[in-house]
């Protein structure tokens, strides 16, 4: 993902580099920190492409950037079109499970459980952030919600994988590597 369009959109009002970065991080609830070098590199590319231009200096003498007409069109085009979903990003978890199913020595059920626990803990972490007020402003709250929905979807998918693995194990006659074999202590604490 490139932050190019997000930074461009935030230049609706002329800003200098540090300010732009602070604005981005504040808007997105600090979920995707940017280093200031990245911001300046992006700005100089945008300038080269004619999407932003120098907009004078502010009272403290800092150079401001502002949108050009082409930049404005670019921003509008970004908001007017959905984010592309054609090529899903390489998904390590999906690949890991697919490979786990194919490798007999791997206990797939355990891989699923371990991931589900980790994702649940991430979800609990977002919950704590929300309760400590991280999502109170609208923009930050929407970003936090996005992370919650994504983690939730992953856990649901892992539940679903577990059910499918069990069904596959139940219908196959040969012992299935997907079936966990450790004894249980049957309880907690």
């Amino acid at each position: 993902m490139s932050v190019k369009h997000a930074l461009l959109a935030l230049l609706e009002k002329p800003r200098y580099g540090y300010e732009l970065r602070a604005e981005f991080e504040q808007r997105t609830g600090a979920s995707w920190p940017l280093n200031v070098g990245q911001v300046y590199t992006t700005l100089s590319r945008l300038e080269r492409d004619g999407l932003v231009e120098a907009g004078g200096t502010d009272a403290e003498g800092r150079s401001l950037y502002q949108l050009t007409e082409a930049g404005r069109v670019e921003v509008k085009g970004w908001f007017d079109s959905p984010v592309e979903r054609t090529q899903p990003q390489r998904d390590e978890l999906a690949i890991k499970l697919a490979v786990a199913v194919a490798v007999p020595s791997v206990d797939v059920g355990k891989v699923v459980q371990q991931q589900r626990n980790a994702t649940m803990q991430a979800l609990q972490g977002y919950r704590r952030q929300a309760r400590s007020g991280a999502g109170d402003d609208l923009a930050g709250g929407l970003v936090l919600d996005r992370l919650v929905f994504a983690a939730e979807a992953e856990i649901r998918w892992l539940d679903h994988c577990e059910s499918r693995l069990r069904r596959a194990a139940a219908t196959s006659t040969a012992p299935e590597p997907a079936e966990p074999t450790e004894p249980t202590d049957g309880g907690t604490r």
């Binding site: 459980q113 649940m120 803990q121 929905f149 939730e152 249980t184 049957g186 309880g187 907690t188 604490r189």
Partner: protein, 240 residues
């Protein structure tokens, strides 16, 4: 650590006999401590409701034991269990389970009045509980004059009225939209933060994440546990 508010020890529950026999629970042990919210997750039919009704004294285990606040539910007998249900255990059902002919305040004060509290103090306690769930001003409304979210809040108020120590909630967000569901969880969480022990049955990860620990059940067995308590994270085995 102090004694748990709820303890299930090797609880099994068999429904029916012969060919119709169903093993709803097969040796479940768990504990819930004061100040803690525990979530139970699992696919439908895995035994979650069976577990909760047994924890709440609404049903009895075929074998194993249950104690609430140090009191063994088996030894307590029918009247002892009924007493605990009126005083120590708050139960929230998915379908609210309110009495349509009673107002919000009457629904909430009913367990106290059944327990012999005077009408006045019971109604006062009900008003406090309704206020806690954000329904001040709705005391004299009837359930069918209220939205699903508001009805579930009445049910929560009824479950927490009179300082109950154990809150059991079986899919309390079932019919509610996400935001309303989150509001319900907030209320349950607040009660646990104030010192109650809570057990929440849900199949929604987002609600389970309000809990300190998440216990997974499947086919009547605890198969996994995730949570914040370092000693319990990844500590349980997997099923056979």
């Amino acid at each position: 650590m102090s004694d748990p508010v709820l303890r299930l020890t090797d609880v099994s529950r068999v429904h029916g006999t012969g060919a119709a026999e169903v093993q709803a629970l097969r040796g479940v042990s768990l504990a819930a401590y004061a100040g803690e919210l525990v979530a139970i997750m699992g696919p439908s039919g895995s035994g979650k409701s069976s577990l909760l009704t047994i924890a709440g004294g609404l049903d009895s285990p075929t074998s194993g034991s249950v104690s609430v606040d140090g009191q063994d539910l088996g030894e307590a007998g029918i009247s002892g269990r009924a007493k605990l249900r009126r005083t120590s255990i708050g139960y929230v059902f998915q379908d609210f389970n309110l009495i349509p002919a009673l107002t919000a305040a009457e629904n909430v004060s009913l367990p106290l009045e059944l327990d012999g509290a005077g009408r006045r103090p019971a109604r006062d306690a009900a008003r406090v509980a309704l206020e806690e769930v954000g329904l001040d001003g709705f005391a004299d409304r009837f359930p069918d004059e209220m939205s699903g979210g508001q009805r579930q809040r009445i049910a929560i108020a009824r479950a927490i009225v009179g300082e109950r120590r154990l809150i059991l909630a079986d899919e309390p967000t079932g019919a509610l939209d996400t935001e309303t569901g989150e509001d319900i969880l907030k209320l349950i969480r607040a009660r646990c933060d104030a010192g109650a022990a809570g057990v929440l049955v849900t199949h929604e990860p987002r609600y389970a994440s309000w809990a300190d620990r998440v216990i997974y059940v499947r086919d009547g067995l605890v198969v996994d546990e995730a949570g914040e308590t370092p000693s319990t994270v990844f500590a349980t085995g997997v099923e056979q």
